[in-house]
Symmetry: D2
């Protein structure tokens, strides 16, 4: 990227730095879990609009039928009203009602198209109130019950707004199009699919995701992460027939035993020669009264695979086990998909570009190759779509450890675990991320970087 543009970027970043931290803390304070990010998403939409971007929200952002793991209508409504009370943007809130909390912002209209993805949802846990927890000390701990930004998505959202501020601030200097994708419900890998199915990835040439990582020190960067496990999340509801356990033991259809049987045989699904697989039944809730044959049971499950094929094979087998176990007790079983992500690898070409951009930002960075993430991430759904159409994609890991622990020295017992109630990160990582994503977008949009050939 030319030096002039980069200087301009640096200038804007310096100006907006307080806003980035302010955004992060605001989103942190009003944490919202997946599909209920009404306040967050409406404010994102408002700000992108104010910055001059073309904004799509609500049903225009999310394909209704492809939203996975949606909460009950009642829960959605309750949280929507909460967002109204907590200062959500009333104009956009209306379109998001019912769980349409994605936002797409478009800046520019040339080629190539660079997609940047930011996830916005919090986790379903109670934030620590401990006096030595910085969000508590500094007054931005979550005020919402069972909602806590313990995975850094508050930062991701703030970074997204930051990049939008920077790139809209540098104005006409930018060729190409930058598409800002604010995604709901990444936790439980539920939200990406609805964005993908709405077609928002179909014209993206370069797709860039990122994740703040508290297990790595500030300055540690993995420009092209890969090796995510494919996963399917699903619930099963078994319906049988109640009967008095003493008076008519033969009269019932025992949904508890059907579910228990399913759980056992799900765990007995065979290993696979082609790679690792996983299965878990995380919850089983069945029955009502002690003397009543249970007529209802819920299983909360997931399967994983080293490849998407392995995962899909496990899912198909799991569905078969569930149906047969239900049949064993004369029950019916309804399987409900709750989340889905495949495997994906970052494209080396794009990762190398990100590495180069980062190197140009100054000294002091350490780069890593990370091709065995193990966990799951639904950004893979977006990557796969872009890659299937000839585009390039990468996912960048950005160290943000508050204690400066180096990746190599990571002492598991000391690191603040992602998903813990005392999660926090080093906010300096926000600025690095804004800078990197802004410069990388600018670089990619330059005519001298050739876009990949479409099929």
């Amino acid at each position: 990227v030319n030096r002039g543009l980069r200087n301009e970027i640096e200038r804007v970043i310096a100006a907006i730095a307080p806003q980035v931290v302010g955004d992060r803390r605001d989103f942190h304070r009003f944490a919202e879990v997946g599909w209920t990010e009404f306040r967050t998403a409406s404010l994102v939409a408002r700000r992108l609009t104010d910055l001059g971007l073309e904004v799509l929200a609500g049903r225009d952002a999310c394909c209704e039928a492809s939203r996975l793991g949606l909460p009950d209508e009642e829960v959605l409504e309750k949280h929507w009203f909460r967002a109204v009370q907590q200062g959500g943007d009333t104009q956009y809130l209306e379109s998001m009602r019912g769980g349409f909390t994605g936002v797409i912002g478009r800046l520019g209209c040339g080629k190539p198209t660079i997609g940047l993805r930011f996830d916005m949802d919090a986790l379903d846990l109670e934030e620590s109130r401990s006096a030595d927890h910085r969000p508590t000390q500094e007054g931005f701990a979550s005020v919402n019950r069972q909602a806590c930004h313990a995975c850094g998505h508050d930062g991701h959202t703030a970074i997204g707004l930051g990049v939008a501020r920077v790139l809209s601030g540098v104005g006409d200097a930018l060729s190409g199009t930058v598409k800002f994708i604010f995604q709901p419900a990444e936790e439980g890998v539920r939200g990406a699919r609805s964005i993908v199915e709405a077609g928002h990835l179909d014209d993206v040439d370069y797709l860039i995701g990122h994740h703040l990582i508290t297990g790595w020190a500030l300055g540690e960067v993995a420009p092209g992460m890969g090796g995510y496990a494919a996963t399917r999340k699903f619930d099963v509801v078994f319906t049988g027939q109640a009967a008095h356990a003493g008076g008519a033991p033969e009269g019932g259809k025992n949904a508890l035993l059907a579910a228990a049987t399913a759980a056992l045989h799900l765990h007995a699904l065979p290993r696979h020669h082609d790679g690792f697989t996983r299965v878990n039944v995380g919850r089983l809730d069945a029955g009502t009264g002690r003397n009543v044959i249970p007529d209802r049971a819920l299983l909360v499950c997931e399967v994983r695979g080293e490849t998407t094929d392995l995962c899909e094979s496990m899912y198909a087998r799991a569905a078969h086990v569930v149906a047969s176990a239900a049949s064993l007790y004369g029950c019916s079983a309804a399987l409900c998909p709750m989340g889905q992500a495949g495997t994906a690898s970052s494209d080396t070409e794009l990762a190398d570009r990100a590495r180069k951009t980062a190197s140009d930002l100054g000294d002091g960075f350490r780069f890593y190759d990370v091709d065995r993430m193990g966990g799951s991430e639904d950004f893979t759904e977006m990557m796969a779509r872009v890659q299937s159409r000839g585009g390039l994609a990468t996912c960048i890991g950005i160290g943000a450890d508050l204690h400066g622990i180096r990746k190599e020295d990571a002492d598991r017992s000391r690191a603040l675990p992602a998903h813990g109630d005392r999660f926090d990160f080093d906010e300096r990582a926000l600025f690095f991320a804004v800078r990197l994503l802004s410069c990388l977008s600018a670089d990619l949009a330059c005519p001298d970087f050739l876009p990949p050939t479409r099929d």
Copy 2:
């Protein structure tokens, strides 16, 4: 019994009739479930005291260690405060705090000792608010959430107070002692044991229980019911070890699978040559998150047997299954007794006496022999104690159907089921019960009826 005494009894009954109905409706309105009958029991104790009886309550009535299926401390406290607010007797409330809701009242001091048992607890369900439900129409439907007198214990308690009023009203005419036993937590067969273990049955010569039965028409009476199934109620908590299901599947100790295994093998406990047995796992709740190996599970269970021996054999086997299933997954299992009742038969001699007394009360009664109740009732625990010490016991069924359905013609689909949310009964049965129990007590206390020989 001499005619003078009987006339006197009838006179008092006529005078107190409105109080009996009033009591029943008051208890109905402020329904309280097992071990939280704070308001009910305190008012019972107050009134018995006011009638001149010697009263034991709180820890004097209930053996602390023998209380089965006690709710959590928090629940007990919440309901205790509710009782304070709803007009419980403050003097007695204090002694009952923490779940000591039995009341023993003693009238007279001669021999023999006649024990009358009344159960006071409501069921854990929401009463119907339907406009054609009489308690709603007439303003005495339960105001307490998840508490409803759908088994007639409101009537039983009112009958107990009625008999106390009558017998204290006839004064010195009565020889012998009448012991009024107001029992908590009959539902789930949890409360009798604590009264028995406190020793209150040890000096009883004649023990009389009764139950209003809505499946039988008014005037239908079974003077000596028997054939109750023995039962044991118990909960099991499995404790394992959580682990991330994707990252460390080998690290967990799966309490969900341990509980599921236990459930299956409990249901596979073999049948018994000596008579019928039953087993049920009414609830299984296990696990937390979808991707976490569950470290905790709860089973809510019961076993039954045609005899106490069969039931105890099932219970011992169930305990073994639970322990082995826990071991299979490296978990621990804690089994908690939640209720217990044995089999018992009414003594023919005493039942015949009850039949004769009922016959003397007038025409229009139809008597039945009922020796296969099938269900369970913890009055059997009291009967067994009295019988083991040489006393006689009987349990009297009293028809109270609101629609006058005859036992023979009972159309199951029309009858108001016990334990349903629209349960109600014919209040005229209250007067019959007060009259029968008063006269029978008087009869038994007469010198011309010989007490049984003690061992």
Copy 3:
């Protein structure tokens, strides 16, 4: 029956007594298990023919499609050749080849028709060679491997021939028809159905079965036994897919696990409110090599019920469990009926007649009512057919204990158990049985005993 006829009967019995014992010992020595009674049945047919009876054998006696629990063709052939070598009647052997080992003999042609049933098969066990076992001592222990008359059917067969000798010996004195039914494969309740379905019970007015009982002393008689448990015997073959357990664990369809699952859930079939039920998986054989996923499994099962309805309900549920368990592992399951018997009660009218006949035979008999046999017996299939068409049926228990143990005093530990390898009985019971059945047949055939009205 008139005295002349009875005297004649007694005379003939005295003459044939050695033949009865001889027959019994011959059948005992050449014991043959169910559906392979080639030698026994062919000799029975030969002797009945020689006595002048009209004889049906082979496919005329047994309905081919209704033969349950038939051995493999190879086994049938092997035992057929053995029968040839051991002196079976060559004329009849030919018709019986392939497992058609029933024999029907008809004596007389008038009305009413009296059916007498005798079962011929031995048990699948090795007879004791102990020196103090009488059959060994006296040289009539079984020479056939895994075939031993340990249930007295050798005696039953000899009794049948004895009665045929007696009644054919008294000649024209007998009015009515006596039908001798020699049944194969009573063990495992497999053979009666094929006789019933061939129509041989359809014209029977009075049906009489009997069983020698070693648990009762000589002289103890139950003229009308009842309360047999209904039962269904069945095998299940599961077929899956083999795969190398190390190299392709996902490639198999595990028939062993399907069968194991079926076994567990069969045992977990719920108890029934209407009466006792039973279920057992007596054998499970699955798999081949240690490192191969098993592609085949066999279950050997039975269910029982206090009534035929309960038994059929268990059978239907068992079939459902088997199919669902197979499905759970992607296997197929083939269920093969191997035996069947219902409940039946002896008709009091006919039992009373038998009692009277027995009483007339002399003093020293003790009569018992036995209405809870508990075990199963496929004579019930014949009884049900006769009763369903308006006839009367009874099953007579005849004490035959070698040690003279009285029923009341029966010391379980001393009695020679039926089905044990040292089984033997008091041969004097044979004469009593021949006398009783001959006289009872004669009595029933008399014009002065009115036959029941057909529908």
Copy 4:
């Protein structure tokens, strides 16, 4: 190695070639399965002795207590007598009676010590009698039932004798010691341990194993194979209590259900984060009669792991599952180890030497690196012992495909599978193996190749 020695070796090989093929076909014809290689081993011992080697056999070769998966005494005896009849060497047969079928031959007495291992056992299957099966055509198909050399061990044994002939033929030219280890019972990984525990590997500096591989063309060689899966083979016998399933269902302790439960939960053993694992229950045989509660059950099992630790972890968990499942049904369980092998890697230094030796033998060899064998092989037990004491070990794969299929082109459907009943190999591989092992031994024994330093 010096050219003179090599020429000498080639000369001897040319002379003994017919004997090598003759030996192979003789051992093939009289195939003997694991622990019954009486004829084979006695002839091996005889010939080594005749060649002048110092020979250990019987209990001197095998540690009695460490023999895994030994057949029943009766089977051992039967096969021992067969070996007598089939021309086994009577002198050595005596010492081998009872299953001591290892042979150790020592040639020379200097340093270093080179160990060569040869396995001798056949597989438990029936050889094909097809007319186009070469062993049938040429008259050396197995004459023993259920014993077939379908894994090439006949060749391995012949190679061992060939190398002994060669090296004893070159006489004093050889410095160092060559130890010939003829091992029983490699199939099922049962025999190596008894050789190791007898101490025969403790003084070995270089250990060389080899395997003919029919999936590779002649000339294809892997000089250092690795990546074997660790495995444990074990049987479990469950013992319960029989009872009549109809008359006393509560009286039994159901070994069938215990075994079925164990099978299910063994397959539900969790996957492991550290690498692949496997588990299989290859057979389950339980019960006797249809109406008897089974009192005995057998499970035939194996577990595997990518590492020895993973395998041992699975084994420990399996033992726990088995014990708990037995407890669930009140049964006892006896676990019997039947085979064991760990993981091991060939030492690169030694493999490289083997590669060089092979290269020197002429052109036309293709070399492969094979570090993911996947299957199991108990030579690993010997390798581990040698490596743990500072020695070097390698396992050499030698292509022997009869059809000349190249490894790269291997068409799975055409290749003759190891362990199939039509297995055969290209006998020219025998000569290559004799030549390679002879020269490699000579090379290693040279003073110019430094032995590894012992700890």
